[in-house]
């Protein structure tokens, strides 16, 4: 049993800066949780508190049933993979992986068996006698994983382990880490600032900003039901489009008015906002240029002047302005659309998100 629980945890660094003001987070046993957020938001700090490398200023951290605030890293039964890999430069790959077990006085035969097993899974067998400096980045990365694996830890911590790899290797390692998680069946906490990594790997994703959790949920929930503007903008690529709009009553439903355009939205939650400004969020794929869609959605159409068109293969990304700020639409590439054309776009009003302008919290999805 290794669930991890933060209860009102505060982290203030020696220089007096409070990086984490009040963290409450519960990570379940065997779960793959991704901590994601912009640079400097406190992801590494959170992870290092779990590892015991940073002290906890206030509050309690539980691993299993025990408060571990004052437990030394070596007694927490965790393994960590660092961004820089942090391999021991003077040891061979084999020794690097065996080191933790040797410290625990594991019998030689068992060490050998475990190291070779890990090397086989990670395809490191040919390199066991090499020193880290004679390895490529991807191989070093796998050694770092192997070093953590052989220990059978209760908790696996990974701090941006893939950020030093090229795009192709990153995709490859992503699936390797995912399958490693299934194989080991332990708790994984994975830090990244790359939302694609977060979406593809996490059972649940914890989106952080300035030390505060914005939303902690499954990838589907985050994508389809973001709690606030920050999460909506952070998750998804290309980014969600945001438009400031005014709410007008229109019979039994409501109109969202921006510039000269108005779209009809059928959400009862908007009643309280009549006459007020809200933020309308539309994902690029919820803008449609197909004929039949436009015909059906007469009251949710507007005309966009294409500034830039990026051909992606099956889709085209169209860039255009609404009220002076740039927006993106993803439309099927068979639709004729090019730079400087005026194109009719329909909004899929079932999938729009509306946010309160002051609190930036979601009103309805």
């Amino acid at each position: 049993m290794a669930d991890i629980r933060f209860e009102h945890v505060v982290k203030t660094y020696d220089n007096g800066v409070t990086v984490i003001p009040d963290l409450n987070l519960e990570i379940k046993d065997k779960e793959f949780v991704v901590l994601v957020g912009p640079s400097g938001c406190g992801k590494s700090t959170t992870l290092r508190m779990i590892a015991g490398l940073e002290t906890i200023s206030e509050g309690e951290l539980y691993i299993g049933d025990h408060v571990v605030n004052d437990v030394a890293p070596k007694n927490r039964d965790i393994a960590m993979v660092f961004q820089s890999y942090a391999l021991y430069p003077h040891m061979t790959v084999y020794k690097n992986m065996a080191f933790a077990l040797e410290l625990r006085k594991t019998p030689k035969a068992e060490i050998d068996q475990k190291v070779r097993e890990a090397a086989r899974i990670l395809e490191l067998e040919p390199y066991l006698d090499r020193k880290p400096k004679a390895l490529s980045g991807g191989q070093r990365q796998r050694v770092a994983l192997g070093r953590a694996m052989v220990r059978d830890p209760e908790v696996f911590l990974l701090d941006e382990p893939l950020s030093n790899l090229d795009a192709k290797l990153r995709t490859e390692m992503r699936s390797q880490i995912s399958s490693l998680h299934k194989r080991l069946a332990t708790t994984f906490v994975y830090v990244t600032h790359d939302q694609t990594e977060a979406m593809t790997m996490g059972d649940r994703i914890c989106v952080m900003k300035a030390g505060i959790i914005q939303q902690f949920d499954t990838p589907q929930q985050l994508y389809n039901y973001p709690d606030n503007v920050f999460v909506a903008g952070f998750i998804g690529s290309p980014q969600m489009n945001f438009v400031e709009a005014r709410v007008d009553a229109n019979g039994s439903s409501y109109d969202l008015v921006f510039g000269n355009d108005r779209i009809r939205v059928d959400k009862p939650e908007l009643a309280r906002y009549i006459g007020k400004e809200v933020i309308l969020g539309i994902r690029p794929e919820d803008l449609h240029a197909e004929e039949d869609f436009i015909r059906k959605a007469e009251d949710a159409c507007f005309t966009a002047h294409v500034k830039l068109a990026e051909m992606m293969g099956s889709e085209i990304y169209l860039y255009f302005d609404i009220l002076g700020s740039q927006k993106i639409a993803r439309i099927p590439s068979r639709i004729p659309a090019g730079v400087d054309m005026d194109i009719r776009l329909a909004i899929d009003t079932d999938k729009v998100h509306v946010f309160d302008k002051d609190t930036e919290k979601a009103i309805c999805h």
Binding site: A51, G52, L53, A72, P73, K74, I78, A79, M80, F82, S84, A86, L87, Y88, P89, H90, F99, A100, L103, R104, R147, R151
Partner: protein, 280 residues
């Protein structure tokens, strides 16, 4: 362009070769004279190579080794050098580790104190030192290493700290997670990574302690203990008689161990000096 660079390379090679000859020449002089008969080591004939008449074989070496407790002094010198260097390496690397890893005002002050100690000339403190050493009983070859530790610490801490800054902290954190206590982290991780610096510092300090004349002369009880450099001085002391032959022979004998140490550590010295400068 390519050609010109080659030409300047050649010029540098010649200049450096000449310099090397200039540096080696005195040693070479001592070497040839140590093989000459006593009367041929005069002002007039000192630059001459040994000839058939003046060649003395290994006679001076034999008499140097047999005379005046050469072997005993050799023993003292070895003892002092080994204990001092060992103490400097062990304590200074630990100290530098503390200074680089625990950052506060105290360690910063400590660091500057060590650096400052390098610029204090030995002559400034030597008389008070010899009295203090007498009082504390540090005037024997068995514990003079404590004094050497003090005088060698400046350079050693400076060099160790410089290199330790370039070891990523994450390596030590990884070892803590892997199950090391601080002592294990130091001896199993930090020291092995530090090996090139250990060798460089070790060789530099060994050369200094081995060749040091002034400090042991001032501190040690001269009637009982003589290190090799002190002993060599005694070849010319005495009653006006200067035994040049045996003196040169013993100089040659004392150079040998330190040259061996230097050659053995040379590869690491270059690595150690470069490691501090270039990261990775």
């Amino acid at each position: 362009m390519e050609k010109r660079r080659k030409l300047s390379d050649h010029i540098w090679t010649i200049i450096l070769a000449l310099l090397a000859v200039a540096y080696c020449y005195p040693v070479f002089m001592i070497l040839i004279n140590s093989f000459k008969k006593e009367r041929a080591i005069g002002t007039g004939s000192i630059f001459k190579l040994p000839s058939k008449e003046t060649f003395n074989g290994l006679a001076h070496y034999v008499s140097a080794i047999e005379s005046q407790g050469f072997l005993k002094s050799l023993g003292f010198s070895l003892l002092i050098t080994i204990t001092s260097v060992a103490a400097i390496l062990l304590f200074c690397s630990m100290c530098a580790w503390y200074i680089t890893r625990v950052e506060n005002k105290f360690t910063k002050a400590l660091y500057y104190l060590f650096v400052f100690s390098m610029v204090v000339p030995f002559q400034m403190v030597m008389f008070t030192l010899s009295q203090t050493a007498d009082k504390l009983g540090l005037n024997r070859p068995f514990n003079i290493w404590i004094i050497y530790l003090g005088f060698g610490a400046g350079l050693a801490v400076f060099m160790f700290a410089g290199f330790m800054k370039s070891i990523p902290l994450e390596i030590e954190e990884a070892s803590m997670i892997d199950g090391c206590n601080p002592i294990q982290t130091f001896f199993l991780i930090v020291l092995p990574i530090l090996k090139p610096t250990l060798v460089s510092v070790g060789v530099l300090e060994a050369m200094w302690v081995w060749n040091d004349y002034l400090l042991p002369t001032l501190v040690l009880d001269i009637r009982k203990y003589k290190t090799i450099p002190m002993l060599i001085q005694y070849f010319r002391g005495g009653y006006g008689k200067v035994a040049m032959g045996p003196m040169m022979a013993s100089i040659m004998l004392t150079i040998i161990p330190i040259v061996i140490v230097y050659l053995a550590g040379q590869k690491h010295i270059i690595k150690g000096v470069a490691a501090g400068a270039v990261k990775g």
